[in-house]
Symmetry: C2
Subunit: 202 residues, 2 copies
């Protein structure tokens, strides 16, 4: 059953999977400009749910208009490019969750959103709107809401970033960025062991 395709205009939306026992994973975040439901290009059913996080505006494309648009080679290429972009987002998220510690994950998410919004000139003075609860952030990063809270408190104490009431204020962008790249030791990280260095040069 073909469905609509949406382009987000303002606000934030996310795509999530839910497990039988209630666990939830938020597998992608959408910022303005992102297109939702690209898999319906090929009339495939969506496997996941998309939810608006807070108030959003979007542009809806019905399946017929979409097919007409896809006749145009340029438009088709553009959609392909959006798909490639979405895939890269997913891959980076995998790496982030698989190999980052909690503070790095949160930092990476904050930086990622900062950069995406900034590229669209939707950001002023390193502050932006993030309409997600700490539980939702946890579901996105593979953490519990409680632990997200602890990390955010730590960011706050260290004056790295403040996240309060759906607003993010980045106080130390360079440091946050280093954290987001796994280049800065977190609270308790040890220095690399000798064989980890050995592995690097091999």
């Amino acid at each position: 059953m073909p469905r609509y395709v949406y382009q987000l205009r303002t606000g934030l939306a996310y795509q999530s999977h839910r497990l039988p026992d209630g666990r939830r994973a938020i597998v992608d975040l959408f910022t303005p400009g992102n297109v939702v439901g690209l898999e319906t290009i090929l009339s495939l059913r969506a496997s996941a749910t998309v939810t608006a996080a807070g108030p959003v505006k979007y542009l809806a494309l019905d399946p017929n208009s979409l097919h007409r648009l896809m006749e145009d080679r340029q438009v088709a290429l553009c959609f392909t490019s959006l798909l490639i972009e979405a895939r890269r987002r997913s891959e980076e998220l995998v790496a982030r969750i698989a190999r980052f510690e909690a503070p790095e994950r949160v930092a990476a998410m904050l930086i990622d959103l900062h950069d995406r919004l900034r590229r669209r000139r939707l950001i002023a003075r390193s502050s932006y709107n993030l309409h997600l609860t700490q539980q939702q952030i946890g579901d996105h990063l593979g953490l519990t809401g409680a632990h997200v809270n602890r990390v955010l408190r730590w960011f706050s104490r260290e004056d790295i970033a403040l996240v309060k009431g759906y607003v993010v204020i980045i106080r130390d962008l360079p440091r946050l960025r280093r954290l987001a790249c796994g280049e800065e030791a977190t609270e308790t990280r040890r220095t690399p062991t000798s064989d980890r260095i050995a592995e690097r040069v091999s």
Copy 2:
């Protein structure tokens, strides 16, 4: 700099990211039929490395032939479909790593590969070839090699599946499948608490 696109014919390959301090994440596994390097369709540089896991055969497409092929609408659609499939793989991997416990992650990987190979009739009697070290499996699932080992020993003791010397033998497919869906309690999982059930029905 446009590069080649490859279709894997036999064997296994993977795409990985590496962090500055040596940590590695294997963000996608390729089985026969999968296409590697799709992002070069749009002349984008690849951000990740692709590695063959053991002996492989593949078909290489140089950028020129690729562009000629893409003239054909049907072929272009086919590539789009491959991209959508790749994206779905990534999303499922995110959910798996974010919300599954270690045994579920390993089970999900084994089942996923089993199903993908079976669809291509590359599997006989629930046994197949998996040319990955336990360390590589860990890098794929966000675990350490040592812990992957413990999970595999447990699968072996419980006679769920045997993974030895790059060969997987599934002994209890239904149970492995239940584990892979998060529907079966692992070693130490408690029964769902009442409010988790409450969340489910809400």
